[in-house]
Amino acid sequence: MIKLIVDEREIEVEEGKTLLRACLESGVYIPNLCFLEEMKNPPASCRLCFVEVEGENKPAVSCKVEPREGMVVRTDTAAVRQLQRTALRLLLSAHRVDCRNCPSHKKCELQRMARFLGVRLKSGQLEYLERDISSCFAHPFITYEPLRCVLCGRCVFTCREKNGYSLLTFAGRGFDTVVSFIGERDPARHSCNNCRACVESCPVSAIFMKGSGIRGQGSGVSIPFPEVIWRTALSFFPILF
C-alpha cells in the first residue's frame, strides 16, 4: 500500500492504481468522463481530472499520475478548478442541453459535474456551437445522438473489452468527430444483440436503445423499423418495449 496526502487527508492506495482511482475510491471526487476502472491505459482525453501535485509546476491529469509514497496532492486549487470549469463549459457548448427529454436526466455526469463545479448548464460566455452532423450510425438496435455525445470514448473501449475488437470507432475529424458503428448491419446476423455494454457505459445517454421511449431525438431514429427487427428485439428486451 502507498500512502499519500490528498487535500490534507491521508489516503492509502494499492500499487498499480492511478491517482484518479485512488481518490475516487477514497471518496475524493475528481470530475472525470473518459475514465473507467477497467482501463489499464486511460485515454486522458476529457481533460477534466486535473490535480496539482506538489513539486510540479502545472496541473496534471490524475488518471495518468502514478501515486508515490508521501505524494502531496491538491484537487481543488484555483488553477485546477479553472481548467475543469473551462473544459466543462466547452463540453456543454457542444452538447445539446435538453435534460428533460434525456434518459440520463438526474444521473448525468455532466449535470453532476456542473453542480460540483458551479457551472451553469446553459453557459452564457461560450456560445452554443451549432452542428450539422449526419450520424453514420446504422445499427439495428442502438441509436446514437451526436449532439449529445461528449466523445469520452467509453463506448469504444467497452465494446473492445467485451468483444476483443470494437464495433464502435471514432470517425470524422476535429469538431465533426463522432462515434461510428462498423459492424454488421443485418440484425439477423448481429453479434451484439444481447450486449448493452456501450449503452450502459455512456455517461450522457448519447448511445441508447432504439425506441427506448425517449422523445425528440434527432438523427437515426426516424429509420422505419421493419417488423423482423421488432420481433428480434422484442424477444431480447421485453422489459424495454
Binding site: S45, R47, V61, L90, A94, G172, R173, G174, F175
Partner: protein, 647 residues
C-alpha cells in the same frame, strides 16, 4: 579481422559504383541539369525537359539531360544548369520551353551563352559573373542541402562516387556508443520542431530494453507553406537513408520506417527507388558491408492527417489505427511502435548525420549558436522577392534571412510580420527582426522554430485574417480526441470569424486570450498546446488591428471582405471608358449621368476585378474600410429604364 572485411566490402562497392557512374557519363558532351523536384515540376520542368530533348534531336546534338532535385531557388524555377565543354557551368532561370529551344540553338550549337537568360555561373571564370556573389548563395551555409539540386537523386552510384555512404562505413567500424557520443558532442537538436537533443534521445533508446527497436523517419510534413522535408527527400534521398542507417546502428535497431505523406508522390517515388537501390548494392538488408549489422527500411505512406506528424499519432497510424495522439510518458523511446522502443527523428535531423559523423561532433558544434548548433533549413514563402529553401547557420537574424538573403518584401510594400513555425508558431512583428534564429530565442519571442516553415507578411495582410486562417487549419486537423483542442479551437475560430465579419462583441478579445491560454494548458498533445500561438502572438503584437475590427468595424489592411468596399473616384474616372464594366462578374457597375461609372454596393462581391482592370492612367477604383466611407453614387433611374427598354 572484421574491420578488414568491412574495408574490403566497402572498397569494392565504391569501385563498382564509380565504374558504373563514370561509364554512364561521357566527359566531352554538354550536360543539361534540370531541377525536377516538385517545385520545378509545378513551374513546368517537364515541358522544359521535353523541349530540350526535342531541340537536341532536331539538331542532332549529343548531350545528356540529367534530372536533378531542387537547388532551393524556387523563385527561379524551372532552373537549369548547362555544363557545356569550353564554358563554365551556367545557371539559367525560369527556363520555359521557348528558352530551352533557344539555348540549344544558340549555346550548344553556336556557342553563344545567351546572357539575357543567365542567372550566373557556378564557378569563378572570366566570362560570366558567378552566383556565389549573390546573397542567396554566399550568406547561406549548406550542410543538409549541400548536394541538393546538384546530384541525380535516382542514382546511388553518383552519391557513392561523391563520397556517400563513407560515413556509414566509418561508423560501422566504431562502437555504437561512440556514434552516440559524437552526436551528443555535436549538440544536434531535433529539427521536427521541439528541439530535443538527438543524442540524448538515442541514448535513451539504446538503453531501453526491447528486442525489436525501430527507427522512424518522420516525413509527414504538413504545415501550410513548409516543404523542406519534401525537397530534401526529392533531391538527396541517399543522404537521408545513410542518416537512417547511422541512427539504426547507433541505437541497435534492425528496422526502419520512412513515414512520408501520401500527398508527396514524387518524394514517395524517389525514396522507394533509393531504398531499393541501396538494398541492391548491399547497403541495406542482411550483413551490411560484411558486418553483422542488419537493417530493413520500408516506406509508409501517411493518410493525410496533419496530426499524424505528432509522434504518438504517427505510431498509431503505422499500426493501422486511427491517428490519435497518446498521452506521454511513456515516450516512444520507451514504448513505441508495436510496444517496442522507437526513435522518431525528422528528415532534416537524420540528414545532418552523415556530415556530423564525417567531420566530427565538435565541427558541428562550432557552427551556429551555442545552444542551437548547426544550420537551420527554412522554406521562406509569402511576400518576399526570392522565396525558396534557405539553409543558414543558427543565430542568423530574421532580418538577414528575410531582407538580405531573400531580397525583402516586393513592390516596395512595408514588412508587417513573419509567421514562423506554421500553424503552431507565432507572428513576429518588425521589432523582432533582429531576433536570432535559434530554438530558444524564437520560443521566447512567442513563435517557435517549428519544422522550418516561414511565411512573410506585408502591409497587405490582415493579422486577424491570418490568425483565422491558421485556426481554421488546426481546427480542421484536430483529431477530435481531447476537449480543449476539439471544441476550444472551434470557439477561437468562431470568434475570429465574427471579428473578420465585423460582428465582434465587446469582450471577444479577452475571451480569445483567456481561452487560448487554457487550450495551451489543457490540451493533450502538441497540436492543441500550440494551436493558439498565432492568436496569442497576433493579439499581443497587433492588438490595434483587432481593436479596429472590433470597435470601428474596420480592417486596416483592407482584406476582410465584409469590412471593405470598392468605389469609383468620379474625378479620375474617364468618360466613356468601359474597362471595369466587362470585368465585373456580378454586373454591379453602372454608368452614371455624367457617363462615368459607379458601383452598386448591394450587388458588389468585392472581388477587386474592377480595380485590376481600371487602366493605370486613370487608376480610379478605390478600396476603403469601413465600407461606409465609400461615397454613395445613385444608380440613375433612366439607366434602369434604358435597360428595361432594351430587353
Amino acid at each position: 579481422m572484421n574491420n578488414k572485411k568491412l574495408e574490403e566490402c566497402f572498397a569494392s562497392l565504391v569501385e563498382k559504383a564509380k565504374k558504373c557512374f563514370l561509364n554512364s557519363r561521357k566527359t566531352d558532351v554538354p550536360y543539361i541539369y534540370i531541377g525536377m523536384a516538385t517545385c520545378g515540376l509545378a513551374a513546368g520542368a517537364v515541358e522544359t525537359k521535353a523541349a530540350f530533348a526535342e531541340a537536341l534531336a532536331e539538331r542532332h546534338i549529343e548531350a545528356h539531360i540529367v534530372p536533378v532535385g531542387c537547388l532551393g531557388h524556387c523563385y527561379a524555377e524551372p532552373l537549369v544548369l548547362i555544363d557545356n565543354p569550353g564554358f563554365p557551368p551556367i545557371y539559367y532561370h525560369n527556363v520555359n520551353p521557348g528558352k530551352a529551344g533557344a539555348l540549344v540553338r544558340a549555346f550548344l550549337e553556336e556557342g553563344d551563352p545567351l546572357f539575357e537568360y543567365v542567372l550566373g555561373a557556378s564557378v569563378e571564370n572570366e566570362l560570366i559573373p558567378t552566383v556565389i556573389a549573390f546573397p542567396r548563395f554566399n550568406m547561406e551555409r549548406r550542410i543538409v542541402m549541400e548536394e541538393c539540386g546538384l546530384i541525380d537523386p535516382e542514382d546511388i552510384n553518383e552519391y557513392i562516387t561523391k563520397g556517400g555512404y563513407s560515413t556509414l562505413f566509418k561508423a560501422l567500424g566504431l562502437e555504437p556508443g561512440e556514434v552516440i557520443r559524437q552526436v551528443l558532442a555535436s549538440g544536434l537538436r531535433g529539427r521536427g520542431g521541439a528541439g530535443f537533443p538527438t543524442g540524448k534521445k538515442w541514448k535513451f533508446a539504446r538503453n531501453a530494453s526491447g528486442q525489436e527497436k525501430t527507427v522512424i523517419c518522420n516525413a509527414d510534413e504538413g504545415d501550410p507553406g513548409a516543404y523542406m522535408d519534401r525537397t530534401i527527400i526529392e533531391s538527396n534521398p541517399h543522404q537521408l537513408l545513410e542518416g537512417i542507417a547511422l541512427c539504426a546502428y547507433a541505437v541497435g535497431a534492425k528496422k526502419a520506417v520512412v513515414y512520408v505523406r501520401a500527398e508527396y508522390p514524387l518524394a514517395v517515388k524517389t525514396m522507394t527507388t533509393a531504398i531499393s537501390q541501396a538494398r541492391q548494392v548491399g547497403l541495406l538488408g542482411k550483413e551490411i558491408l560484411g558486418t553483422d549489422f542488419n537493417l530493413e527500411v520500408s516506406l509508409f505512406q501517411g493518410s493525410g492527417a496533419f496530426v499524424c506528424g505528432e509522434e504518438t499519432a504517427l505510431i498509431q497510424s503505422i499500426e493501422g489505427k486511427r491517428g490519435m495522439p497518446q498521452y506521454r510518458p511513456p515516450y516512444p523511446v520507451q514504448v513505441g511502435l508495436w510496444g517496442q522502443p522507437t526513435v522518431i527523428n525528422n528528415v532534416k535531423t537524420l540528414s545532418f548525420l552523415p556530415a556530423i559523423l564525417k567531420h566530427g561532433g565538435r565541427w558541428y558544434r562550432e557552427i551556429g549558436a551555442p545552444d542551437s548548433p548547426g544550420t537551420a533549413v527554412f522554406s521562406v514563402v509569402g511576400k518576399v522577392v526570392h522565396p525558396g529553401l534557405v539553409e543558414v547557420p543558427m543565430g542568423t537574424s530574421l532580418r538577414t534571412l528575410i531582407f538580405d538573403i531573400c531580397g525583402g518584401v516586393p513592390e516596395k510594400k512595408k514588412f508587417k510580420a513573419v509567421q514562423i513555425g506554421g500553424p503552431s508558431g507565432g507572428c513576429l512583428p518588425n521589432d523582432f527582426l533582429d531576433t536570432p534564429i535559434d530554438f530558444d530565442s524564437l520560443t521566447q519571442a512567442g513563435a517557435m522554430m517549428g519544422s522550418g516553415g516561414m511565411v512573410v507578411l506585408d502591409e497587405g495582410n490582415c493579422m486577424v485574417d491570418v490568425a483565422r486562417y491558421f485556426l481554421d487549419f488546426t481546427q480542421k486537423e484536430s483529431c477530435g480526441k481531447c476537449t480543449f483542442c476539439r471544441i476550444g479551437t472551434r470557439h477561437l475560430l468562431g470568434i475570429l470569424e465574427r471579428l473578420t465579419k465585423g460582428e465582434g462583441k465587446e469582450g471577444d478579445m479577452e475571451l480569445l486570450e483567456a481561452l487560448s491560454r487554457e487550450i495551451k494548458e489543457g490540451s493533450l498533445c502538441g497540436l492543441g498546446k500550440t494551436a493558439p500561438n498565432p492568436v496569442l502572438t497576433s493579439l499581443k503584437y497587433f492588438r490595434d488591428e483587432y481593436e479596429a475590427h472590433l470597435r470601428e468595424k474596420r480592417c486596416p489592411a483592407m482584406v476582410c471582405r465584409a469590412l471593405t468596399a470598392f468605389y469609383i473616384d468620379l474625378d479620375r474616372c474617364a468618360r466613356g471608358c468601359d474597362a471595369c464594366v466587362g470585368s465585373c462578374p456580378v454586373e454591379a457597375i453602372f454608368t452614371t449621368k455624367g457617363q462615368k461609372k459607379g458601383i452598386d454596393q448591394s450587388l458588389c462581391v468585392k472581388c477587386g476585378e474592377c480595380m485590376a482592370s481600371c487602366p493605370r492612367e486613370y487608376d480610379a477604383v478605390r478600396k476603403v474600410s469601413p465600407p461606409e466611407l465609400a461615397p454613395k453614387i445613385e444608380r440613375p433611374p433612366e439607366a434602369k429604364k434604358h435597360d428595361q427598354t432594351d430587353s
